[in-house]
Amino acid sequence: MDDSTNKASLREPCVPGLFSEEGEPSLHGARCTCCDTPYFPRVAACRNPGCDESRIVPCTFGGEGRLWSYSVADFPPPPPHRYDKPFMPYAIGVVDLDSGLRVVGQMVDAVEFMQVGSRVRLVIEPIHHEDGRTFTSWKFKLLDR
């Protein structure tokens, strides 16, 4: 088994079932086909008070979007967040995916490259390591860097 296979086999999502990286990196969400509202994570019924009839179907979200705004974790967040030590500050993006979902996620790129309005892509990346295991989450990567 070469190194990359070994790494891949040890990658696992920090919370199971929410997202996947096989094929296209994607979030496992849902959409109401009545009012077109997107949801992540999945919901059992539509939460839009203006929707006439809840018709939820599973769908995935991924691809590209635009950075609506961002913040920085300059200090480690409290548990249940887990992180590799020493702590490295990271940017947290709020991204408008082209598919109509506004979603929060860590940014892959360093804080000094952040700019509101930048184009980004959804990726699955390691978020922390523990007991020889690599835990992943969804993140956003700047397209024009």
Binding site: T37, P41, S71, A73, D74, P77, P79, D96, R102
Partner: protein, 407 residues
Amino acid sequence: MSTGLIGGENMQEVVVLGVGMHRFGKTGDAIVGEKSVTELCRHAVDMAMKDAGISWKQVQAVSAASSRFSGGKGWGLNGNDIVEDLGCTGIPVYNLSAGCAAGGNAFNIGYSLVAGGIHDIVLVVGGEVMPKGMIQTSGVEDANDPEYLRQRCVGMPGPAFWATLARRRMFDYGTTETQMAKVTVKARKCSESNPFARFQKAVSLDEVLASPYVSNPLRLFEICPVSNGAAAAVICSKAMARRFTSKPVTVATSTVATIGFDDALPRSLAGPVPSGPSFHTEAKSAVMKAFERSGIGPREISFTELQDNTCYYELAFPEEWGLCEPGEAERLLEAGETAPTGRMPINPSGGFVSFGEATTAMGVFQIAELTWQLRGQAGGRQVPDAKVGLAQTNGLGGNATAAILKR
């Protein structure tokens, strides 16, 4: 009757008879030391009852602010402990949970009980001994808890919410970091003459700008730390108040609201991209309802106590509520108009930035400050000729409250 436009016909007019507070501090310091939340509240309640001129036996119900977040995480006040400490008279106790808006919720329930004629005299109390550091919003590893998912998958502490909104304002309006720092300078100037503030020392612009980022673009001096503290208010019907005072402070209205479906910032991990600007929908909704129900407009407000977890809110909220024009807040701040002597005074108490946040106390702390201001008892931070005060809180989970008091 001036109890409002909605459901006002049969409502009792409600007044604030007395208020009290324990000065805010930090566990182990000279102010609060190792005092329990019950001890802090007892101090505030005794002061409020003395101010009102009533005894414990006259209190007919307690509305207590109790902090609970999603996933069951919580600490804070249990109103039953206060009642036990004061003597179990068998009265009803309502423990209200709404994150940092709990104090405002407790005031609203107390107000509603009196307005609805259920009770004549109600004690409203909030108090907190806070765990150190950033507020831990989830205590359970439960994938159904949105707070857990956000912290585990992203790692987005409380200040990051405020920083996200502040960053967007910088993009939309060109707000600068220096302007945000000036809000703190103004707030801490007010705190110099507030004996209940945890910090009672002014800070310079350079000191604020030299403080480290907690969540860029927001710095340590621009966000409220956690504090221990307590506040209490005795409220009663206007008819009953005549026995105790000739000049009570009137509650024009009290409202509660929760976040809108299309809010700009997802409450959990994601939401639909809003079709237009939809910032702080819970706060805006609570305040707009307060204007509607009281028949008092934004331009009639003499001063405002709003939830400044961060200086950003002092810039964003006033224009969203119609106290000033959109994008005008920075100019008003720099012209000194948000100081107690300006034409749009914001947080003359010194605000959360000077007090720190003892979560459940805050909504009641605001009622105390409004009362002191409207009575003309606010000393060096007094808003000249204050006639009408607006209070507003925000709480994790999409909660908000507002109250309008008048003399």
